[in-house]
């Protein structure tokens, strides 16, 4: 395997690994559910994309044929991650889970819960 390819793969993998770790770190660390929602939808999405591209390159090289089916997983995750986040956010709102004290616009939770327009 040529070095440049190996380096690219390694860099991509490292990026992926770090983002995934950061995503999960955020999940563990951030103080409320609404904030935690950000880490998997973003950091992890990017992280997994990194790993996927690395895998794509490596397998294309190994099979001596361009193998980009990992893109499909990326596509899938990009489509579903926001919906998953949305669903989870809805549950949190429905259960009226308190946001962190200093969160701005906390009063919106009630409107969200009833799916009404925000109070004027």
């Amino acid at each position: 395997m040529p070095l440049y390819l190996e380096i690219i793969v390694c860099v991509l993998l490292l990026i992926g690994g770090i983002f995934l770790l950061v995503g999960s770190y955020g999940l563990a660390r951030l103080p409320d559910i609404y904030m935690r929602l950000h880490s998997p939808t973003k950091a992890s999405t990017l992280g997994i994309t990194g790993v996927l591209i690395a895998s794509m390159i490596l397998h294309s090289y190994l099979q001596e044929f361009i193998s980009i089916k990992e893109l499909l997983i990326t596509l899938f995750l990009l489509i579903t991650a926001p919906v998953a986040a949305n669903m989870i956010a809805k549950t949190a709102i429905h259960h009226e889970i308190k946001a962190k004290e200093k969160t701005r616009g906390k009063e919106l939770i009630n409107s969200m819960r009833n799916r009404d327009a925000p109070p004027e």
């Binding site: 489509i79 926001p82 919906v83 669903m87 809805k90 799916r115």
Partner: protein, 932 residues
């Protein structure tokens, strides 16, 4: 005499006759019923001469050689005697019953039972095979049950019949054991062989057991003490039945049995002790109790017990003459007791009562019957010139001539005389208390003589009493001799049937008995008063209460063990399983084998940690069900990872897809079941369960480890070698599934299909309470179908289907296949249900899931059947490579059709379950109170 084999079957055939002729007049029915027994009797009498000359007839045909049972009959002196009694008295009873039974009684049924019983009795006495003997023996119990319970609407009849059946049935079972042991000891179930092997039997270790068991059979049947209690209660039967069963036949079967096996089992100390003492006890008890009966039939029943005891006593004494006396008394007792029963029946029939406190002075009303009854009763008492006297004299003689009780031997004649005293007393009571003793008291009917022919049987029998009594040798000499010869299996001692032997001790004993009886009877009031001090225990009540208490105890025991607690059942199942399973492990020297282990890596350690934590968390939080479920998902995920890691991609895929569907199902269950589990296990139970769980887990883990660390050769090399060449696929796992072991897969999809059908059935009539709020009492959200989810799901569906097609098509060569594809499709459709609801889908997706299941299984089966056309077994696969321009080389395989069947079944089954469950809940959300 080859016809012998058919002889007992004539009456069997005869059981149908009364049923056929029941519609005609009673007389016709009676005559037709009597025909076959009469012919049988004639046939037997026809051969009697030969038997008297010492001939024995044997005849057999094979039946069940495996158990040593053949259809084997013999006609010797003993059989002949009993056959004549059975058939002769039977015929008289038929005639008698014609008049006895009322118009409401089904005479056809009665005769059928009677003839069936006759057949059974004949079978017993004619058998030449131990097992066949038992066959007929039990048949007598059954048919007698039918006869005793003939008036089943009466509670006494039911109870009496049950008691008789229970006691004689129990004895029968003991007898069976005895006979089987006997046959085993001798090595043959042929009766003759057994009779010829007396010495062998008596020498064998099992002789005591055999004897006890056989005697149990005999004693119960012959109502010997302490099993005698059933007989008085059997008096609930119609009197013809009593006259038949309790004089000449059923109760004599026990006597017959002892006589039959006399050569094989008798003449040992054990025999002597058991039989003599039992006989003596029975003789005395019966005689004593008989005196205090107020019921005419009760008196006769107890007298029967007493006389049976007498015969038993004789058979026990072990002298040849005693045996002769026993046989003689069998004849005599049959004759006088049958006539007495019939007389009692006439009295009952014509006066409406059997209670001697009401029956008085009947002499005036029915002098003829009274005369007959008095003669018979005198015979019972042992009055000279009557047959009863003769055998009683012989009995007294024999009691004097034995010395087996050592220095206590004198007790036997004394007690015998005492028994004689009571016999005379109760006979006297029968005569005096019924026919004289003043005027009748409150009889339901005015007594009168019975119809002419109803008396005939009694007349015949009483005549016999007289004739035998006066000319014994002439009438029964040959019969008695040949019977005795059969009992003794050879030499018969000299004996004399004369009426007069001079002034001997026996005569003295008779005289004492007469006198004593007279005294006791005249002073009976003192005795009655004395007896009244004892609380009268009704054996029927005692028996019923014993049975009741056994039943109650059984019920208590069962409700203690089968307490309806699944937890206990599962606990016991697992405990048994793991105990059995773990015990061999103690013999295992080292847990680890020689196979090198795979080194650990961080990933695996993490996975195992995750798995274990999640697993334990599932348990710890099992009462918070949703969290438990989430933990379970983690476990499932890690398990799939493990499969992937250890080179089983197919398994990983399957596990993943199954996992999701399972979780969805469990979520559905969460909705309908309570959200939380109350805390109800006691700490003790928790500790106990934890102990078992640890035991099971530890054992399983140990075995798993022991297995994995040991090398193994398997048949799998074959699959690896033949997968491509023989099965046409490179994914060996898949080729095994659809080809090598396609039959398993066919079964597996059938299971899935059936499960769906079953679930449909479960859902069909389900009335579920839909909670209106979640576990914490929060109302549900009003957003039924969240917008983002709805829109995105629509876009995902075609993608998911494409992936499904992809997984399906590659299955044969790469991880995948119909099952996983089916689950992916199902999950994609379920996703639509979640996002859009049932109503939305209903109009858009018109799939009949039931048909999908049916056609899926059909397609899979038909793909297997296809090979029949080419002469190959079911499921023989076919594949080939084809070439088409543009497309290129491609493979077609029958396995793909099979896999299509799998796919359809999976989709059909999963959707049938989920879609129907969904439909169920579209109805109004009812607010229902929780039931728990």
């Amino acid at each position: 005499m080859n016809a012998l084999i058919w002889l007992p079957f004539l009456p069997l055939l005869g059981t149908l006759v009364p049923l056929l002729f029941a519609r005609f007049s009673r007389t016709v029915c009676a005559f037709m019923t009597a025909a076959l027994p009469a012919i049988t009797l004639l046939l037997i009498l026809f051969n009697a001469g030969a038997v008297f000359n010492g001939e024995r007839f044997f005849s057999s045909i094979p039946w069940v050689p495996a158990i040593g049972l053949e259809l084997a009959f013999r006609l010797d002196g003993l059989s002949l005697l009993f056959s004549i009694l059975i058939l002769g008295i039977g015929l008289l009873v038929i005639l008698y019953a014609r008049y006895y039974l009322s118009a409401q009684d089904s005479i056809g049924k009665f005769y059928a039972y009677l003839i069936l019983f006759m057949f059974a009795m004949l079978g017993v006495v004619l058998s030449d095979n131990l097992i066949q003997l038992w066959f007929f023996w039990e048949l007598t119990s059954i048919s007698s049950f039918l006869l005793i319970s003939f008036w089943g609407h009466k509670v006494e009849a039911r109870k009496g019949a049950r008691m008789a059946l229970t006691v004689t049935g129990a004895g029968g079972l003991a007898l069976l054991a005895g006979l089987l042991l006997l046959g085993h000891t001798v090595g043959s179930y042929s009766l003759q062989t057994v009779l010829d092997s007396g010495d062998l039997i008596k020498a064998s270790a099992s002789y005591p057991i055999i004897t006890v068991l056989v005697l149990l059979g005999a004693f119960t049947k012959s109502a010997q003490f302490p099993f005698h209690f059933w007989l008085p209660n059997a008096m609930a039967a119609p009197t013809p039945v009593s006259a038949y069963l309790h004089s000449a036949t059923m109760v004599k079967a026990g006597i017959f049995l002892m006589a039959r096996f006399y050569p094989a089992l008798a003449n040992t100390d054990l025999w002597f002790l058991l039989v003599t003492l039992t006989g003596l006890a029975t003789f005395l008890t019966g005689a004593y109790v008989a005196l205090f009966q107020h019921d005419l039939k009760g008196l006769l029943a107890n007298s029967t017990i007493s006389h049976l005891g007498l015969i038993t006593l004789l058979l026990g004494m072990g002298t040849d003459l005693a045996a002769v006396a026993a046989i003689f008394h069998v004849i005599n007792h049959a004759i006088f007791k049958a006539s007495l029963f019939m007389a009692a029946g006439i009295i009952d029939h014509e006066s409406g009562s059997r209670d001697m406190r009401h029956l008085n002075g009947l002499w005036k009303y029915m002098p003829f019957t009274a005369t007959l009854a008095m003669v018979a009763a005198s015979s019972m008492a042992g009055v000279p010139l009557l047959n009863g006297f003769l055998s009683k004299e012989m009995f007294f003689t024999e009691t004097l001539h034995q010395a087996s009780l050592g220095s206590l031997s004198w007790m036997i004649p004394v007690l015998a005389t005492l028994g004689g005293v009571f016999s005379v007393a109760y006979s006297m009571r029968f005569i005096h208390d019924v026919f004289f003793n003043g005027e009748p008291v409150n009889l339901p009917k005015t007594p009168h003589e019975p119809p002419r022919y109803m008396r005939v049987p009694v007349e015949v029998l009483v005549a016999l009493c007289l004739i035998v009594g006066i000319f014994p040798s002439l009438i029964v000499g040959d019969l008695l001799y040949s019977a005795a010869a059969a009992v003794l299996n050879g030499a018969v001692p000299d004996y004399s049937l004369a009426i007069w032997h001079g002034f001997t001790y026996p005569l003295l004993m008779s005289a004492i008995a007469m006198l004593g009886g007279l005294i006791i009877y005249t002073n009976r009031h003192h005795f009655f008063k004395f007896q009244a001090q004892f609380p009268m225990s009704d054996p029927k009540l005692t028996f019923e209460s014993v049975i009741q208490s056994i039943t109650l105890k059984a019920q208590k025991f069962i409700s203690l063990t089968e307490n309806g607690s699944l937890q206990r059942y599962v606990f016991l199942t697992l405990l048994l399983a793991i105990s059995m399973n773990a015990i061999p492990l103690l013999q295992l020297n080292a847990t680890a084998g020689l196979r090198p282990e795979i080194p650990l890596d961080a990933l695996s350690v993490t996975s195992v940690a995750l798995l274990c934590i999640a697993g334990v968390a599932t348990v710890i939080w099992h009462r918070r069900r949703l969290i438990s479920l989430l933990m379970l998902s983690v476990v499932g995920l890690i398990v799939s990872l493990a499969f992937a890691k250890f080179s089983a991609p197919d398994l990983a895929l399957t596990q993943l897809s199954v996992e999701v569907v399972t979780v969805i199902l469990l979520i559905l269950a969460l909705f309908f079941l309570p959200q939380k589990t109350p805390k109800e296990s006691s700490p003790r139970r928790v500790v106990r369960d934890l102990g078992l769980a640890a035991f099971v887990g530890g054992t399983v883990g140990t075995i798993c480890y022991a297995l994995m660390t040991r090398p193994l050769d398997t048949i799998s090399t074959f699959f690896l070698e033949n997968s491509k060449t023989g099965g046409g696929g490179t994914n060996v796992v898949n080729v095994i599934l659809v080809d090598f072991r396609g039959f398993d897969t066919l079964g597996e999809i059938t299971v899935l299909g059936i499960a769906a059908l079953g679930i449909y059935k479960l859902i069909a009539r389900m009335r579920l309470y839909m909670p209106s709020s979640d576990g914490k009492g929060r109302a549900w959200s009003e957003d039924k179908y969240p917008l983002l989810l709805a829109v995105i799901s629509q876009s995902l569906l075609p993608l998911a289907l494409l992936v499904s097609a992809y997984i399906f098509l590659r299955g044969h060569n790469m991880p995948g296949g119909g099952f996983i594809a089916g689950l992916i499709t199902s999950v994609a459709i379920i996703q639509q249900y979640i996002a859009h609801g049932v109503e939305w889908i209903k109009h858009r997706l018109k799939l009949d899931y039931q048909i999908m299941i049916g056609s899926g299984i059909s397609i899979a089966t038909l793909s297997g059947l296809g090979s029949w056309v080419f002469g190959h077994p079911f499921l023989t696969s076919w594949f080939d490579y084809f070439y088409l321009p543009v497309i290129g080389k491609f493979e077609l395989a029958s396995a793909m059709i099979f896999d299509l069947g799998v796919f359809l079944t999976v989709v059909g089954a999963t959707m049938l379950i989920l879609a129907n469950l969904g439909q169920l809940t579209t109805s109004e959300r009812a607010t229902q109170k929780e039931h728990d």
